[in-house]
Symmetry: C2
């Protein structure tokens, strides 16, 4: 494809995306497709000869669109939002079109320096002190893996330079509650700690870590010959957006010399609102934080921010220095390859730079406040309606909800809950994801897709009431 | 930004990228910027109010462009190429604009199924049997980390479900040559093996692994109480594109039950040429392979293909299954979150799908053959010129070159080599990256940027001869 053809097809694609963002509201939110439907429409072998590009673009309509669940839909309430605001999309387009890589500062200086600036802007926006240094990773899964690897190496005084984790006498232990995200377990397992050495700390009725239980468990572990290594706290858990009490956990971490990692993947975006910063009071005592602007804030996926207080430690854990990557300015610059797992890096800073400048901090704040108000409004509606329950505190923008028609309990209630959620998703009216809370299925409603206004939340509530008919009525 | 504004600014950006791809040839290849130059042009604080988007776009010209080293430049010969062909760029644009995520099949079925199809197309294009299953990761660093984690868990019979690597009695060992990429060391260290347990196997004069030495070392290690775990072979090393002898290594891996991982990040693209497949003869005996279509092949960064023979093992190592990610079709589909490190995934398959269809297999093959011929042509020119040496076999598209004016040896030769490479880079005429081979600095010339024609290689050769004046002449 020549630049001239790119101009033609590029304009078509821009228009197609613009149309998509407008018309997506008219589509069913969840894909109505069966496993194998999409594959069956594609040739089993690659094309030997070039295909007309118009045919390729046409398949976006005929094959791709019907096979999508639409995350940019105003009635998307599943998982957590993943907003790609259009200014951020254009920032990503600039990155892909330029096609430069940040292996080292020298391999594209602007890539590194604009990343330094925008991660520092974000730091200020969230009210963090200037003791923090940031870098953009792909996802929170990666950021948390980097955090636990860093913790492992601090506790073992850089075992990687010797016999690795397998050379250690005492088993290293990680602490978190059962409400930590699955990526915390995954990171601990991949980092080699082993499942037996992930010690689950009890939580209270608000699903937040009990600091007294944490201290007791660590004390016990030390006596038993373990080497406590890291505590992972969550600001905004996935199930209910609960937040662990950092101010009470931090002294425990300090007293025992443990790494404190804070997973604020979701709620971190809300920290641009001063009135929400109580959620992570005590954050300055942490060693590392992950925040995903590709969730609620609006940066096109993927953009996960990872902040550390001791970048030299991070670099020592992550660095490699082969001759083919060295340059004459290495002593004077940040080489971001030493700040995470991958060597190659996209120019991810552009999508954050474009987003923050086009919205302004105030624009971002206003949208998040709208969503917080919508969540409270919906919680009020649900609490006021007989048979319906809001099961967890609504501290952010996610609700845990259940309809409990008289007489239904236990597994029958589970089946009923999953049934109406499934009917609602299949109806196309909205998309929400059920999950287990206190051993029973309930329905999560995560508000915060960028186009979601009050009217869409009201439509959701109406659809929920329509689908959640008690079993005796549903059978008619 | 409204969809309407997106249309306006999107068209402008498309035109800007089209212009960039044409005019890049007139720019100096390497950024002429000093550390801190870019940062100094940006506000230290984020904007509180929205900025006019025209100002944001204007900064691409005034701030970003002068701070880039241009990877899509016809005279880019550094590192390895990272081609973002324009059809692939548009595939990535579709992905970012749609803004859907592949947490699970259900979260966007087309994302998963098109990835299944294009990874299978690529498998066929490279002549691999249908025993392989593929997935798209971000980079080879990640793919190799996944491979070594998989090896670790196979050798320990899933230690992650028990005490982790720290519960193992015998130290696990990784084998590779000194010419393996730095990401292999990094992956082994991060996976917890420890530097002492990376056993470096001698290479021959072509920089390829000596299978006899490998067998001897493993035998010795077994006797000494180690647990040999994995061998990493390279098809196309970074320094000289050497290729380890898989056919001789595979029996060693089999005899001792070791995992065999093949890093074909660079040369994997060349396997779409049947005449080049001798480079990885024996590949069917491997357990895992990484190939980066975002290098030479032309897929916009990032797109690293990871193939395994036993996907069930990969899933067992990588899977998590929290309630909030489950769906009713999980038994019938691939959930790609269990095929790598991150939970969230972009719709990366689109950029490969667009690329392969727009180019056709023949189109991709023709360009790679052009580059192979250019490399042989340049090697011929250099070999025929007194004082110049080609230092390693030119098996692919990268040359290791040195100008050795009479009398210069040792550190004086190193300083001279780095000097002329640096002058050449600063001249703007070309970009190439020096590296160390056999303990001495030399200059790598990596041919294969998509716009690089014979004329650009000839211009490089002329510039090299202009800059590489012997010291006595250079001082005049």
């Amino acid at each position: 494809m020549t630049p001239k053809e790119f101009r033609t097809y590029g304009h078509q694609l821009i228009d197609w995306i613009a149309d998509y963002r407008v018309s997506v509201a008219d589509r069913p939110v969840m894909a109505r497709t069966e496993p194998g439907d999409i594959k069956a429409q594609l040739p089993k072998q690659p094309p030997i000869r070039p295909e007309p590009f118009a045919d390729v673009l046409a398949d976006l309509d005929s094959i791709v669109l019907p096979g999508l669940s639409h995350w940019q839909h105003p009635r998307f309430f599943g998982y957590f939002p993943s907003n790609g605001l259009l200014a951020s999309v254009l920032g990503d387009y600039a990155s892909t079109g330029l096609g430069v890589l940040g292996l080292s500062w020298q391999s594209s200086p602007a890539l590194t320096e604009i990343e330094e600036v925008v991660t520092d802007w974000m730091r200020q926006m969230m009210g963090l002190s200037d003791a923090w240094s940031g870098v953009i990773q792909d996802t929170a899964s990666t950021s948390t893996l980097v955090a636990l690897l860093s913790a492992r190496e601090r506790t073992t005084n850089y075992s990687l330079s010797r016999g690795g984790l397998q050379g250690e006498a005492r088993p290293l232990v990680i602490y978190a509650t059962a409400h930590a995200h699955s990526s915390v377990d995954k990171a601990a397992l991949l980092a080699g700690f082993g499942r037996e050495n992930i010690h689950v700390i009890p939580h209270d009725e608000s699903y937040t870590m009990r600091p007294g239980a944490l201290r007791a468990r660590i004390t016990e572990d030390v006596a038993a010959g373990f080497a406590p290594c890291a505590i992972v706290c969550t600001t905004g858990t996935t199930t209910s957006t609960a937040y662990d009490p950092l101010e009470q956990v931090a002294p425990v971490a300090r007293d025992f010399g443990l790494w404190l990692h804070v997973d604020a993947a979701m709620a971190g975006s809300a920290m641009i609102l001063p009135e929400m910063r109580h959620m992570w009071a005590g954050i300055e005592s942490a060693d590392s934080i992950v925040i995903n602007p590709h969730k609620w804030l609006g940066a096109a996926f993927d953009a996960s921010l990872y902040y550390v207080r001791d970048p030299q430690h991070l670099i020592r854990v992550m660095s490699t220095n082969p001759s083919y990557l060295r340059s004459s300015v290495d002593e004077k610059v940040k080489n971001l390859r030493d700040w995470g797992l991958p060597l190659g890096r996209r120019f991810r800073a552009l999508k954050l730079w474009f987003l923050i400048r086009e919205q302004g901090v105030e624009g971002l704040q206003a949208r998040l406040r709208r969503d917080l108000e919508n969540a409270q409004w919906l919680a009020g509606q649900i609490r006021a309606t007989p048979g319906w329950k809001v099961l967890a505190p609504v501290g952010l923008q996610t609700l845990c909800v259940r309809h409990e028609p008289g007489g239904l309990t236990g597994e029958a209630l589970d089946a009923y809950t999953q049934g109406w959620a499934d009917r609602l998703n299949r109806s196309g009216a909205a998309y929400l994801t059920p999950a287990i809370l206190d051993g029973r299925w309930m329905v999560r409603i995560s508000i915060g897709a960028a186009p979601t206004e009050r009217e869409h939340v009201a439509a959701l509530w109406e659809a929920m009431q329509n689908e959640a008919l008690p079993p005796q009525e549903a059978s008619h």
